[in-house]
Amino acid sequence: MVLGELEKQVLNYLWHNREADAKQIHAAFERSRGGSLNTIQSTLDRLFKKSLLTREKCGHAYRYRPSLEREHLVARLIENVTSDFAVDGESPMFTAFASMSESLDDQELDRLEALIEARRARRQQDDA
């Protein structure tokens, strides 16, 4: 997923203000970066098509809301970056992660904790 500079600014604005239409966003950006209302409208449309915004018609204009919180978008981008083994949706790294999460219960974590504690105690004994 590629995000342009203006797309990121618009997303940041909407994460902060929750909801706005093109005119409100244009008014907010007019002083800081200039640009026309059309540019803002097409940016909002692109973000909507990328499923990053939802929109609802109010009168003649659309009101936009972020469909993903910032943290979730960051997580999705990290997923795109790190799933190096993924080809056409398959991703063994995620499979391994999922199997780890499912198979590791508290009992197993406690067993590993005990192993680490035993090792620490042995090291302290050796040092003493």
């Binding site: 997923m1 590629v2 995000l3 500079e5 990121k8 997303l11 910032r70 943290e71 979730h72 978008l73 960051v74 997580a75 999705r76 981008l77 990290i78 997923e79 795109n80 970056v81 790190t82 190096d84 083994f85 993924a86 080809v87 056409d88 398959e90 063994p92 790294m93 995620f94 499979t95 391994a96 992660f97 199997s99 780890m100 999460s101 590791l104 197993e108 974590l109 590993l112 904790e113 192993l115 680490i116 090792r119 620490r120 090291r123």
Partner: protein, 321 residues
């Protein structure tokens, strides 16, 4: 029909492709044995063993092509007659475009093209996502970059000049020593160019069915994670690295939104990693598989002149040459 020097080269290349096909078949046949043998080996043997095994047909193709180009090319460009060869082809210097030689080349070019395209598209997507990520969550420079996000993330990205990324959310939960363990682990991935290796491995195994390829990729992943753990454990007490792994696992389990816990540091079988950190690595077999792979390749190269000629004529018995 192609005639002359280029026909000689293309005929040779078609034989190299046929040889690579035979090696691929050998890989299929040896796969069950490999899958039984690998898990018992130390991470280093698993990593290099898998890489050597996956690269075998490609190394063969490269060796054969370079050898033929050096011998045939030098004589052609020096204006000397073709080299004496044990191959007794009756069509050495002409290539029919509807022969099996040409078909093998078409198939190889198509498979190579599709494989390269898929890898290139994947790399482009990853690069675009990384650029967006850095500008959204933090754009610092340097070998370690902090992402301004509350999620629990730690990973390395990039191929030739990889960089470690760690999220503010994860940093907040870790002590200075635990942060050092995570960063040393990621540093190991960067220094060893593990992302690049993974890409190469994916490419080399791209002709395998998914159900065969995935366990091998997972095995390579686990081996590289264990080696990165070992790198950190060589610079700080190994039980502290193991304790950090466990802590991140617990943090992930406690995280109410699992989609925010994509920490690569923690994405492999935890039990294997903790246990291998607490037990000294077995040694003695570290060179076994690479040496075996090289011997196989040498044997194949040695037999190739005779074997490929035989193969060539066997195929000729059924198909147009």
């Amino acid at each position: 029909m192609i005639q002359g020097f280029w026909a000689v080269l293309l005929n040779h290349l078609s034989l190299a492709v046929a040889g690579a096909g035979v090696l691929l078949l050998m890989q299929y046949l040896t796969l069950p044995g490999l899958q039984r043998w690998l898990p018992q080996q130390p991470p280093r043997v698993r990593k290099y063993g898998l890489l050597a095994w996956a690269a075998l047909p490609w190394i063969w193709l490269l060796f054969y092509s370079v050898f033929v180009l050096a011998v045939e090319g030098s004589r052609h460009w020096l204006g000397e007659p073709p080299a004496a060869t044990p191959l007794h082809w009756h069509h050495r210097s002409w290539l029919m475009l509807d022969s099996w030689h040409a078909m093998a080349l078409y198939l190889f070019a198509a498979l190579l093209g599709v494989g390269l395209m898929r890898r290139w598209r994947r790399l482009r997507q990853a690069r675009a996502s990384l650029a967006s990520l850095v500008s959204l969550a933090g754009g610092q420079s340097g070998p370690v970059r902090v992402l301004e996000t509350d999620g629990l993330h730690a990973f390395s990205a990039g191929f030739l000049h990889p960089v470690s990324y760690i999220s503010r959310g994860l940093l907040k939960h870790l002590t200075a020593q635990e942060q050092r363990a995570v960063l040393l682990h990621e540093e190991a991935h960067c220094r060893r160019r593990d992302n690049l290796l993974h890409q190469g491995f994916c490419f080399c195994t791209s002709l395998f069915p998914t159900r065969l390829r995935q366990p091998l990729q997972a095995e390579l992943s686990l081996a590289t994670e264990q080696l990165a753990d070992a790198y950190a454990a060589a610079r700080m007490p190994s039980e502290e690295v193991a304790a950090t792994l466990l802590k991140v696992a617990r943090l992930q389990r406690a995280q109410s939104q699992p989609e925010l816990t994509l920490a690569f540091f923690q994405r492999q079988q935890l039990s294997h990693r903790v246990e291998s950190l607490l037990q000294p690595e077995r040694s003695g077999l570290s060179l076994f598989f690479p040496v075996l792979a090289l011997l196989t390749l040498a044997l194949f190269l040695g037999l190739s002149m005779v074997g490929l000629d035989g193969l060539h004529h066997a195929v000729d018995a059924f198909l147009i040459h």
